[in-house]
Structure formats: C-alpha cells, structure tokens
C-alpha cells in the first residue's frame, strides 16, 4: 500500500534536523518509542549473554568457567539489567509510547517534552548502572534485590547500582504520569472509557502502579544514604535497625513492579487474540475490571517474598491469603482469552503463535506461583532454582513472549514492511523448545533442593543441569534467528499494507509507517458502536 505522494511518514519527516539529532531532539512519541526499543534491544542481548555465562558455569559442578565472585557479579548484573532496564520499561516505553496515542486517536502524548526527558533519564540511569560495573570495587555481587545487611557491608560497587535503579524508577514514574494524563485528556471524541482498546486500558492500570509504587524505591534509597553516611539505624542491626524492614520496603516496590511488567503484556495478548480469532474479545468488561483489580490488589501482596525471613506468623497468613486473591483476576483473563478463541475463525499467524506460547508458559508460571504463595510449600522450595524457574516462566515466558508477540504484530505498522514469516516461525519454535528445556529442569532441581545463587552444586544435580544448559544454547539460537529476521524485515522486507492483520483498532486506520502527527484529522467515533478491540 503506497501512501498518497504528498504525505511523508514519521521517518521521512525530520523537522529540519539532521542525522542523530532528528532522533534525540524529537518529541514525536513514535521516535521516542523506537529510541527506547533500540536501547532496550542492545541491553537485552547483553543480559542474554550474561545469562548464558551463568548457565555455562553451571554445566558441571565445581569451577567451570568462572569463580564464585565472578559468578555472583554475573547473576547480579544479569538481574539488574533484565529487570530495571528491560522488562519494567519494555512494553510501556516502547509500544505504549508508539501506539497508545494512535489507539485513542491522539496526535501525541499529553506532555511530549516530558516524554523525551523520561528517555534521557532512562539513559542516565543506565549509565549510572554501567559506572557501577567498571569502577572502584568492581561490579555489585548482592543479587538484584540488594538485601541488607550484606548490601551495606560488601566492598563492591553497590551504591551506583541502587542510584541507577532509582533514576530508572524516576523515568518510569514520569512515563506513567504522562500516559495517565494522555488517557484522561486526549481521547478522540466518542472514544469512551469502555470503548478503549484493552492495550490502552492495561497501560492505564500500569501507569497508576508506576505512580504509586516507584516512589518507595526513592524513599528506600534515601534511607540507605542516611544509614551509610549519617549512621542512622534503619536496616543494620548493629545500629539498632531491622534488616527485614529493608525487605519490606524493597518488595513494596518490587512486587507491584511485577505487574508493571505483566499488565501491558496481558494488554498485548488481549489485542492479538481477538484480531486473529476474528471476533471481539469475550467479556470486555471483565477484562477491564480484572486489569484494574490486578493493579490494586497486586499492591498488597509484597511480603510473599519474605515467608522465610523471620516475619511474624500473622503476616505470613495475611500475605499468603492476599496472594491467592490476586490469582483470581489473572485466571479471569486467561479464561476470557481462551473463550475468545472458542469458535473463532482462527488465522494462525506469527503473532498469534507467540500469544498461544504466552498462554502456555504464563500458565505454568502462574500455577507454580501457587506453590510459592502457600507458606508450607514455600518453606521447602524458597531460594532454590524452583523460584528461578517460576519467575522466568512468568517474566520471560510471559512478558518476553508478549514482547515478541507485540513486535511481530506491530512491526509492519512501525516500519511499513513485513518480516519473513517462515523464519519467524522457525525462530519461535526454536525459542519455545529451548525455553522449556532450559527452565523446566530447574523446577525439578529446585524441588530436589538445589539452591539458587551458587556457582557450585552437588554431583547428584549434574544430569539435569547439563540438559538445562543445552536448552539455554537452543533458546539463544532461537532469539538470534528471531531478532535477525525482524531486523532484516524492518530494513528490506516487502511493503506491508495498512492493515495486514485486519485489526479493528485505530492504529490500523493510519498509513504504515504513520505520518508525523498520526491523523490528518482527529477521528470521530461518536457514531460507531462496536468495541475497537
């Protein structure tokens, strides 16, 4: 589909700026979204290679490729990069930026300059984290949770890493604020709340969590500074503090952060499944309500990470109960997706394959979460590789699959070109097999008692660790096939039409790639009655 000759797309419309300046000075939400994407993809590769390093060390007991100190730094930096640089900002910053304004019929976000500033904060945060790796005491070795009191005693560079996480958090708060305001103030006429695409709803719920939860990281950082430099005892028992208070504060932010990761992923799936089942989503209202319910209840379950840390029994009971509550809205969503597929005229395209993979992996992750939410079983598997397998199924199998689903769904819109579908499917299959071969053995190993975060292990765990490392290589091969195929598609793929998937939301009504301000005229939806999703 060729656009009318007069209209330039947002790549061609540089507003008189040249080269890289056309990017780093642009307040266009689409360019900012792509800048996030390029940054995130580079660090994703770094994070993947660090993860591969961890699995290489674990291929045999004893010292294989690195010693204990290097191993501790590897898993810490892998965690910090993956959590704070990739999965927390990932979907909102890339696809929220690019598609939220288009989906609700707006020309840009509410505060375009603030949006660009958020990206600058993001880069400053990343640089701060990188400084911690290469200066003074060497890379941090505390694990991405920076647990007290060890994190206050270690001689490695833990302070810049926490400061980096804090700056990244600020970027996240501003992005959330921007999206909330955009949704409140900039919806096109007739785009009523209950007509909004579900991805926009999920970004809205996420925005509130970003706004409510992230400041806690800031407070915690100030307390760390007060403790280290003013010797006020918050966390260090030697100063009269309580290490468990640190764990409370850390998880008050970091558990809702899990929902910052997974809610937009659920939003992506709620867009893709109806499009390829070629019918409306089953139970739109239920999906919206469960999105907001997850955003709210997800705030009050944080201490399920602390069942074995010496917290009171009453708190264990309360938080276990609340954790089980949050499973209900997630299950409602899964039910609605499956019910949407039921009797749909399904077209099995690459984005739907990723979405189905998401369903499968997310459910394994969710069900094993119940083992961890119940106090009795958690005591047995806490701090074993079972936990590692569980959250990789949720975060990587869930959010990661949704991320690739979104890329394959929206790439034709973003670049106006289509990728090679055969290689995309091969990439997915390789990834999916590799993923399960890598992480499923870790459930068994953890159940048998193999602890996480040690570079060494007992001989009895050797067999399954070989299988797991083998899976890691298969999965990484799949990731490279996927990414290379997408890059090739974006650069040289055949021209994509305006609406290759017959989607019904507004982004499919504008040219691919969209023009600078998305719409010639703000769309008027007062007359259409159907849900756009």
């Amino acid at each position: 589909m060729s656009e009318t000759a007069a209209q330039l797309n947002f790549f061609q419309e540089t507003q008189g700026r040249k080269g890289i300046l056309a990017w780093i000075l642009s307040t266009d939400h689409k360019r900012i979204g792509l800048m996030y994407m390029y940054t995130i993809m580079v660090f994703f590769i770094v994070g993947v290679l660090l993860g591969l390093g961890i699995k290489m060390e674990l291929i045999a007991p004893g010292l294989t490729v690195m010693g204990p100190q290097a191993y501790n730094s590897f898993f810490t930096v892998h965690g910090v990069i993956m959590i704070f640089v990739i999965v927390i900002p990932g979907l909102p910053a890339i696809f929220g930026n690019f598609f939220l304004p288009i989906m609700i019929g707006a020309k840009d976000v509410a505060f375009p300059k603030l949006n660009l500033f958020s990206w600058y904060l993001f880069i400053i945060g990343i640089i701060t984290v990188l400084i911690s790796l290469f200066t003074f005491g060497g890379p941090p070795d505390t694990g991405w949770t920076f647990y007290a009191p060890y994190s206050f005693k270690t001689t490695t560079n833990m302070f810049p890493a926490v400061l980096g996480a804090f700056i990244l958090g600020f970027s996240s708060i501003l992005t959330g604020l921007n999206f909330i305001t955009t949704i409140h103030r900039m919806r096109a006429p007739g785009m009523r709340w209950m007509k909004m695409p579900l991805f926009a709803w999920s970004i809205y719920g996420t925005g509130w969590i970003q706004l409510f939860a992230t400041p806690i990281v800031g407070i915690t950082l100030l307390m760390i500074i007060a403790e280290r430099f003013l010797k006020i005892g918050f966390f260090d028992p030697a100063l009269g503090g309580d290490p468990i208070l640190y764990q409370h504060l850390f998880w008050i932010y970091s558990h809702p952060a899990v929902y910052i990761m997974i809610l937009p992923a659920m939003g992506v799936i709620s867009e893709i499944i109806p499009t390829f089942a070629r019918k409306g989503i089953f139970g739109y209202n239920a999906v919206v309500i469960s999105t907001m319910a997850i955003a709210i209840v997800g705030y009050f379950v944080w201490a399920h990470h602390m069942f074995t840390s010496g917290m009171s029994t009453t708190a264990q009971f309360v938080f276990s109960l609340l954790t089980f509550f949050v499973a209900i809205p997630s299950a409602i969503k899964v039910f609605n997706w499956v019910a949407t597929l039921y009797k749909g005229s399904i077209r099995l395209e690459v984005p739907l394959i990723w979405a189905l993979g998401f369903l499968f992996l997310f459910m394994i992750g969710g069900f094993t979460g119940l083992f961890l939410g119940a106090v009795a079983t958690d005591v047995h598997v806490h701090n074993t590789t079972f936990v590692v397998a569980h959250f990789h199924y949720i975060i990587f199998g869930g959010m990661g699959s949704a991320f690739f689903a979104a890329l394959h769904y929206w790439l034709p819109k973003m670049y106006g070109r289509m990728y090679n579908k055969y290689w995309a499917t091969v990439g997915w299959a390789t990834f999916f097999i590799g993923f399960n071969v890598l992480y499923f053995p870790m459930f068994i190993l953890g159940y048998q008692g193999m602890p996480r975060r040690y570079y060494d292990y007992l001989d009895q765990f050797h067999g399954l660790n070989i299988v797991s490392t083998l899976g890691a290589f298969i999965m990484v091969a799949g990731i490279f096939v996927i990414i290379l195929n997408l890059i090739r598609g974006a650069r040289h793929g055949e021209q994509a039409t305006m609406n290759p998937w017959e989607g019904r939301s507004l982004e499919w009504t504008v040219p691919s790639p969209p023009p600078l301000e998305n719409f010639d005229e703000i769309p008027d939806l007062t007359k259409s009655s159907a849900h756009p999703a």
């Binding site: 705030y299 009050f300 201490a303 708190a315 309360v318 938080f319």
Partner: protein, 94 residues
C-alpha cells in the same frame, strides 16, 4: 477549562490552620510522655496524617481543586495507609 479561576483564602482561615498545626505539634510531643507501647507509632502517624491533610487542603489548595485531583490524591493516601497497616501485621505480631 475552568481550573484557572483562583481562590483566595482569608487570613483568618490561614491563621486558624496554623494554630491547629501548632497545637497538633504540641500534642505529638506531649503524647510521648504517655507509654502507649506499640501504639505510640500509631498515635504519632495519626497526628502526622492529620497535619498533612490540613496543609494539603488549605495551604496547597487541594480543597478548591478539581474532583479528579482530590480522588487521585485520596487514592494515594488510602494505599499508603493500607501499606503501613499491612506492614504492622508483621511488627505487631512478631
């Protein structure tokens, strides 16, 4: 857009709020003389919340702002209160 009309609060109101804040500060200090056990934190937090509410409503003009801002702000306070409450399920029962 109607938010641009400014509201002018009288000196008397400002003075009364200031007086209330001073009295509450005195109450915070004097309540430490009574031993309330674990509830001394609760008492201090309650008084602090009351003071913060006064400052927000009058000095920061939340009382005269639009409804959506009031709702958003109250939501933050409710979440914050619930978080403290849940944390005390740990500290009070340890």
């Amino acid at each position: 857009m109607s938010e641009h009309k400014t509201h002018i609060t009288s000196y008397t109101t400002h003075f009364m709020v200031l007086l209330a804040l001073l009295i509450l500060t005195w109450a915070t200090v004097s309540i430490t003389n009574i031993n309330l056990g674990p509830y001394s934190v609760t008492a201090a937090l309650l008084i602090a919340c009351l003071k913060a509410t006064l400052v927000l409503l009058y000095f920061m003009h939340l009382k005269f702002d639009s409804k959506i801002l009031k709702i958003s702000f109250s939501a933050v306070m409710v979440v914050f209160a619930l978080v403290i409450l849940l944390t005390f399920f740990d500290y009070l029962f340890r």
